[in-house]
């Protein structure tokens, strides 16, 4: 695996060196080395006869709460195993090459990954050493654009990639029409639905790739009005039926100080409304703004799963927030709150109901203490039927010469899961920094240690862990009309 990862690194170097001479290639690279720790959840048992108390919840001789189900002679407790560590490395390369003719360009976003130390199963897809997240050939003219290869579909339905082609035309400057099609790739996996990675964790994974067709229209009839609609249909390559058939519409309207956005997603195949959301933002000046939203959400499931037949209901949510900053920008504060209510499931048990609502509350503040010192604070509270969390953090940052910075962060959080009880508080302390090596390269890193304090021994997860990250960013070459490190 190291050999394959090295291959990706060499690929980056190969692409970067000639571009420095011939300005026909722009290559950006990000090398990330992480260190993570996790503890597996393990079940342990004690003799029921040695416990005190009665009923389901009892106490073991060492004080650990255990669960007992008569007539089993044993009581059980879930606890954490020993810490497992892993050091995954990721190498991302974005390559943009032109010079094949006016309007012609090749673009690729490649990723290599490998575990350079420790467990090779902790990091997602760590054993899949190479991904082409995007790789397409583009021909663009003022009125149309054609792309062929692996590309992202960014719409109200998703941010997904697919293997295929897209044709975009702009008959007038305020209207864009696009048709696209090809083979579907799974969200977040970048592999077909028949991938072995999916089959490994899902016995009912499909055996046929998905074919995708979509059509999108975007219009800007006037500068403060944006509208878009997208229709997308995915079918099995072999056999009948559908994997999905969906429609989404999004819009933004701005008038003076008021901005409104609307979003809707519909599962046409199941005749279900998955998302309906509207938000109003009032910004009377550059210093403060207020927002309010309402939302109806029902989860969407691909039709190759059986989940859609289980009658998920989702929730209705409403919320509001506001932000303010001082005239000199030295102090800014923002906060928001929301409440959601789950719809009637038809499965409630009268004498043992689950919570059917939830609250969310969050706030943050940024203070510029001096030209070089800044303090950030944030807090969040989340209460729901399945889990609850209270967490806060404080970061003190010092800006150094040349855009470099270093910071120290303290965090603390508590969780209370109704489905698996946690106890205690996890406190963390970390340092992080950014160091610019030149105009087009920088190194950033972070190191944080988290300790699970006040935890009942041997009970529930132990979230004590050490985390570190080191990232090296660089760019070579520049696209026509762009600064070398343009974009972020």
């Amino acid at each position: 695996m190291i050999r394959r990862f090295s291959f990706v690194l060499l690929l980056g170097a190969w692409a970067a060196v000639p571009s420095a001479r011939a300005q026909g290639v722009r290559v950006s690279g990000t090398t990330t080395l992480n260190y993570v720790q996790l503890r597996s959840l393990q079940i342990d048992s004690v003799l029921a006869a040695t416990t005190t108390g009665d009923g389901v919840m009892r106490v073991a001789p060492d004080g650990t709460p255990v669960q007992c189900v008569d007539p089993s002679p044993y009581c059980y407790v879930y606890g954490s195993g020993a810490a497992i560590s892993s050091a995954p490395a990721l190498q991302d390369l974005q390559v943009s090459a032109w010079g094949f003719g006016r309007g012609m360009r090749f673009y690729a976003d490649l990723r290599g990954r490998a575990v350079v130390g420790g467990s090779n199963t902790l990091w997602p897809q760590a054993n899949d050493h190479f991904d082409a997240l995007e790789a397409y050939l583009e021909y663009a003219q003022p009125r149309f654009r054609v792309r062929a290869g692996r590309q992202w579909d960014v719409s109200g339905l998703a941010f997904n990639n697919y293997d295929g082609a897209s044709v975009q035309v702009r008959p007038v400057s305020a209207l864009t029409l696009e048709a696209y099609g090809g083979w579907t790739l799974q969200t977040g996996l970048d592999e077909p639905v028949t991938s072995g990675a999916l089959a490994a964790v899902e016995p009912y994974a499909p055996d046929s790739r998905g074919l995708l067709f979509g059509f999108r229209a975007q219009a800007r009839p006037a500068p403060p009005v944006w509208l878009s609609a997208v229709y997308e249909r995915s079918t099995p390559q072999s056999g009948s039926g559908l994997y999905s058939e969906r429609l989404a519409a999004d819009g933004m309207f701005r008038t003076g100080r008021l901005t409104m956005d609307l979003a809707a997603q519909v599962d046409l195949a199941s005749a279900e409304l998955n998302e309906l959301r509207t938000q109003l933002v009032y910004a009377p000046g550059t210093r403060w703004s207020a927002r309010a939203f309402v939302r109806r959400h029902r989860p969407y499931f691909d039709l190759w799963t059986i989940w859609g037949a289980f009658g998920a209901v989702g929730f209705v949510e409403g919320g509001a927030g506001a932000s303010w900053r001082s005239a000199d920008g030295a102090l800014s504060v923002e906060g928001q709150a929301s409440r959601r209510h789950y719809l009637d499931t038809g499965a409630e048990v009268g004498f043992a109901p689950l919570r059917s609502n939830g609250w969310s509350l969050s706030g943050s503040s940024a203070m510029r203490l001096s030209p070089v010192w800044a303090l950030n604070a944030q807090y969040g509270l989340d209460l729901g039927f399945g889990a609850a969390k209270s967490q806060g953090g404080l970061t003190l940052r010092r800006t150094l010469r040349g855009g470099n910075s270093i910071g120290i962060t303290g965090t603390a959080f508590q969780t209370a899961d109704e489905l698996l009880v946690n106890s205690g508080t996890v406190v963390g302390l970390g340092v992080n920094g950014v160091w610019r090596l030149g105009e087009n390269s920088s190194v950033s890193g972070s190191l944080a240690d988290y300790q699970h304090a006040g935890r009942v021994p041997n009970s529930g997860p132990n979230w004590s862990q050490l985390r570190a990250s080191l990232t090296y960013n660089w760019t070579v070459g520049a696209e026509p009309g762009l600064p070398p490190a343009g974009g972020k």
């Binding site: 992202w152 969200t187 100080r257 979003a263 190759w304 289980f310 929730f315 928001q336 039927f385 969780t415």
Partner: protein, 485 residues
């Protein structure tokens, strides 16, 4: 003994120093001093009646002979010889170093509005004192009484400074004097800097050039080479030294403070024809660099129309990278991106991919894994926008003992003794959370028509035929045949 010698030396030193400071300077045969370092000015009033005409002593005033503008010290000795009158220590001052274009000769030869020759006392008489030889240096106000009748005061905006002053470049002022040139009151007026441009190059020469050189303008105007009024000024090394390293302070137009300026500035700059005011107005203060701190798309016509930053010129307004997004944008951006917001104007493709590809840990805090349960359960963020429920969530949960490929231990949902009864409500409230740990086979162990307990999971009104038409294969996970068969 040695200590006494040291103290004596110190006292002697102090005494010598004090004596040197208090002793009158010895008269010189040819004393030269500037006005700034001379001793008391000549006491004209104490000599009243002795000199019938100013030109007795100041003959050079009328002839232009600088050597005879002031009398010689020897003239004083005619009386102040130590016998008739005590000796004095007056020294002939050197002329003031000024930027005045004043000529005594021309004024002495001119006539005033009444046709009278201009006597010395017309300008030099001490205001309000009519006694003989009550003179003092003239004030600028006296000059404008004749030369700028409409101007209310010296250095008023209506003044043409060059009437009485030479341009700074031509002046003999020292660098310190240049730095100390007083600022006209109108320069402090609100909004002055927005409208300070002279009407013409001639106007720049008539007023601006008296205090400013070309470098004064080049400090802020990166396009100085293209502005005729600036080019009308000459360069000056004294000014160049003064402004070197001083960062310019650019004024901010009121329009830039409006609530939606960040949204509409592109329209104002671009306009319908793609250029708008970019060339005529924006370029007064902005180079392409101003835009590119945020805008990645350098091919936008309005940005391309602005001048490019050149080495050796002013930087133009530096616009620090800033967000146009309001609070809560992170959750709102899907709608904005989908609706057609021009994300690519500021962001590269990889900016989106870094988060949405879901593996680089750039979106969540470092220990998010420890606290993600509440966000997942409560849909605070939509996990599936970036992660595969099966290969990301479930794979990790299986790996760390939190997921299951088969039925669940009743003890796992430990806070819910009656979990078997109320798990249905939990599932319908957030089935995605269930799928994060359970495979579909976990459910069909009970909810299957062909095995398990045969418990029907479908909600009331479930359209089995539609489900079968959509994907008959999914029906066969639990049923022996699809509904239509």
């Amino acid at each position: 003994m040695r200590r006494i010698a040291v103290v004596s030396s110190l006292l002697l030193g102090v005494a010598v120093t004090v004596a040197a400071r208090t002793a009158p300077p010895a008269p010189s045969a040819a004393p030269q001093a500037t006005v700034q370092d001379t001793m008391l000015p000549f006491p004209h009033r104490r000599h009243a009646g002795l000199f019938p005409q100013c030109t007795v002593c100041h003959r050079g005033i009328t002839t232009g002979d600088s050597a005879t503008i002031y009398p010689k010290y020897q003239a004083c000795l005619n009386c102040h010889d130590g016998t008739v009158k005590p000796r004095v220590s007056w020294r002939q001052p050197t002329p003031l170093v000024t930027n005045l274009a004043f000529s005594h000769v021309r004024h002495e030869q001119s006539v005033d509005s009444a046709g009278q020759t201009i006597a010395c006392l017309s300008c030099h008489r001490t205001p309000g004192d009519t006694s003989d030889m009550a003179v003092s240096p003239p004030q600028p106000q006296r000059c404008i009484q004749c030369h700028a009748h409409t101007a209310p005061a010296h250095m008023d905006a209506a003044q043409a400074c060059a009437t009485c002053h030479v341009t700074l470049v031509r002046s003999p002022l020292s660098a310190a004097q240049v730095a100390a040139i007083p600022k006209p009151a109108d320069h402090d007026a609100a909004g002055w800097v927005m409208h300070h441009a002279p009407a013409s190059p001639a106007a720049a020469t008539a007023r601006c050039a008296v205090c400013h050189a070309r470098e004064s303008c080049e400090r802020c105007h990166f396009n100085a080479a293209a502005i005729p009024a600036i080019q009308a000024l000459e360069p000056d090394p004294r000014v160049a030294n003064l402004v070197r390293g001083r960062a310019p302070t650019y004024p901010k137009p009121a329009s830039h403070d409006s609530a939606d300026w960040q949204w509409k500035h592109g329209t104002v700059a671009g306009g319908a024809n793609g250029l708008g005011t970019a060339v005529t107005t924006c370029s007064d203060c902005h180079t392409q660099s101003s835009c590119r701190t945020c805008h990645r798309d350098g091919t936008t016509p309005a940005i391309a129309a602005l001048p490019a930053l050149k080495a050796g010129t002013a930087y133009g307004v530096h616009v620090p990278p800033r967000t146009i997004h309001t609070a809560g944008w992170l959750k709102d951006h899907p709608t904005q991106a989908a609706a057609g917001a021009n994300c690519a104007a500021c962001h590269s493709r990889s900016f989106c991919v870094d988060c949405h590809q879901g593996q680089k840990a750039v979106y969540h805090p470092p220990n998010f894994v420890a606290q993600h349960a509440s966000e997942a359960y409560n849909n605070e963020t939509q996990c599936t926008a970036c992660h595969s429920t099966e290969t990301f969530c479930r794979a990790c949960h299986l790996q760390t003992g939190r997921g299951t490929r088969s039925k669940t231990s009743a003890l796992f949902h430990s806070a819910q003794p009656l979990w078997l009864l109320n798990h249905g409500q939990a599932a319908r409230q957030n089935l995605e959370a269930c799928a994060a740990c359970h495979t579909q086979a976990s459910c069909t162990q009970c909810h299957s028509a062909t095995g398990g307990w045969g418990i029907n999971p479908h909600p009331p009104g479930f359209d089995a035929k539609r489900a079968a038409a959509n994907n008959p294969r999914s029906c066969l996970a639990c049923h022996a045949k699809v509904p239509d068969e």
